[in-house]
């Protein structure tokens, strides 16, 4: 079936989003068409505004609408800790804990040799410059607990050796609320490795 040009264009735009196929794109496009016009305008304005206003923090690489971001410019945050994460949404996840009051550094990815992503593609040079300048006491590597995240953590540990700085990794192990019998051997082994005195 051939759509009107404007509708076809809208469907094509939705299809550009990750995980959206032609069927879902059609459904979303028709849903938009059924929305009241003011809501559609607000939706479109929010998209344009977010794209125009959001920028990358020149200090930590996080997404922000002011440079430096609210975390980097907050004087109450502890300067002696830098938590290195893969993506801006990892900052949001860690902030939700209300446990961490230090700084962040966003790598914007992880080393993934199979996808051709190496250290040069990540926000690592600015991390080294920041460590030289701010001289933190500890770097907390909070990359994902998968092979790519581990490779990134190992790489960071290696290049941070000359700084004589404490480099730590987030603990790996059992999720809260799970039953031990359902845990796989890799997770259990990591949990045993990372056990602590009570």
């Amino acid at each position: 079936m051939r759509y009107y040009d404007s509708l076809a264009r809208l469907i094509a735009q939705f299809q550009k989003l990750p995980g959206i196929g032609s069927k879902t794109a059609q459904r979303l496009a028709f849903y938009i068409l059924k929305m009241p016009e003011p809501e559609v305008r607000e939706f479109a304005a929010a998209l344009v505004e977010a794209r125009a206003k959001l920028l990358t923090c020149s200090v930590c690489g996080n997404m922000t609408d002011s440079d430096p971001c609210h975390i980097c410019s907050d004087p109450r945050r502890e300067r002696k800790y830098i938590c290195v994460v893969q993506e801006p949404r990892d900052v949001l996840a860690l902030e939700r804990t209300n446990e961490y009051r230090g700084q962040y550094h966003v790598l914007n990815g992880a080393i993934s040799p199979l996808d051709g992503i190496g250290p040069d593609e990540l926000n690592i040079k600015s991390l080294l410059a920041r460590i030289r300048q701010e001289k933190p006491e500890e770097i907390i590597v909070a990359t994902n607990p998968n092979v790519q995240g581990e490779a990134t953590a190992m790489y960071l540990a290696q290049i941070l050796k000359p700084f004589d700085i404490r480099v730590t990794r987030l603990a790996l192990g059992l999720p809260v609320g799970g039953d031990l019998e359902y845990a796989d051997e890799m997770t259990l082994a990591r949990a045993l490795e990372g056990r602590k005195k009570i």
Binding site: G19, P113, V147
Partner: protein, 251 residues
């Protein structure tokens, strides 16, 4: 019966949707099998650990329309020492990439699977040795039917002690036939080392005493062969070198 069981290595994982993954697995039948692991990127997923790269695991798949879905998984070996060492990780990434690029879905390359398994076990239990990795790749090419001539000229079939390696011709090309072709130059020492690599076990190649220049030239030859076999699609090879350089710098 719509359930099927496979034992194999996870060689690639591609994110799908919010929390799923398309996983490529090099199975003991010598084929590349792709399946969907639903929710495997969630932190509490029961499949998250088993579909991690390099894992040797048993997978139960449910066949439906399109790609099969993962129903059960049991890890046989997670190669933990390989994951903890970044030089070994570099080599394992390259192994996974070679399996993904060189093995077809209906390949039936059981000998290649045994070869990969032997190298991964070796990598798990012993130190990473670059020459052994070259031996692995050289033997892998042979197991896939790309065994290269190192004693006789691949064109005129005369015995030769030097010349160049032209992969499209089948290996060594003697100086007389060389004008007809291109390739990387080799002398008697390079050819002797390649012959040794093609027949020695991984434990034996760990112990080979080879001077640095000879080893580097040999590594270049094997890199070149892999580049030719994969039509230049390899990415992980470059990172393995980066890891090796960093190791040298830290030493």
């Amino acid at each position: 019966m719509r359930l099927e069981k496979h034992t194999g290595f996870v060689v690639y994982g591609f994110p799908l949707g919010e929390a799923d993954q398309i996983v490529s697995c090099f199975t003991s039948e010598g084929n590349l099998v792709k399946f969907i692991a639903k929710g495997s990127r969630k932190i509490k997923s029961r499949f998250a650990a088993s579909v991690q790269l390099f894992n040797l695991a048993e997978f139960v798949l449910y066949k439906s329309k399109g790609l099969p879905y993962l129903r059960q998984a049991a890890i046989i070996d997670s190669f933990a020492p390989v994951r903890r060492d970044w030089q070994k990780s570099g080599a394992a990434f390259a192994v996974a990439e070679l399996c993904r690029l060189l093995i077809g879905e209906e390949a039936g390359e059981q000998a290649v699977f045994r070869h990969v398994l032997a190298y991964m076990l070796h990598l798990r239990d012993r130190d990473y040795v670059p020459l052994t990795f070259d031996a692995f790749r050289w033997q892998l090419a042979a197991a896939l039917g790309y065994g290269m001539q190192t004693e006789r000229c691949a064109i005129c079939r005369q015995a030769a002690r030097s010349g160049c390696m032209d992969w499209s011709q089948g290996g060594l090309v003697c100086p007389r036939c060389r004008s007809r072709t291109g390739g990387v130059g080799v002398d008697v020492r390079h050819l002797a080392l390649l012959r040794t690599l093609s027949r020695c076990s991984f434990a034996e190649s760990d112990k080979l005493a080879v001077n640095g220049n000879l080893q580097r030239h040999c590594a270049r030859l094997v890199d070149d062969l892999i580049f030719w076999l994969t039509e230049g699609k390899t990415k992980a090879q470059a990172f393995r070198k980066l890891f090796e350089e960093l190791r040298c710098r830290s030493e």
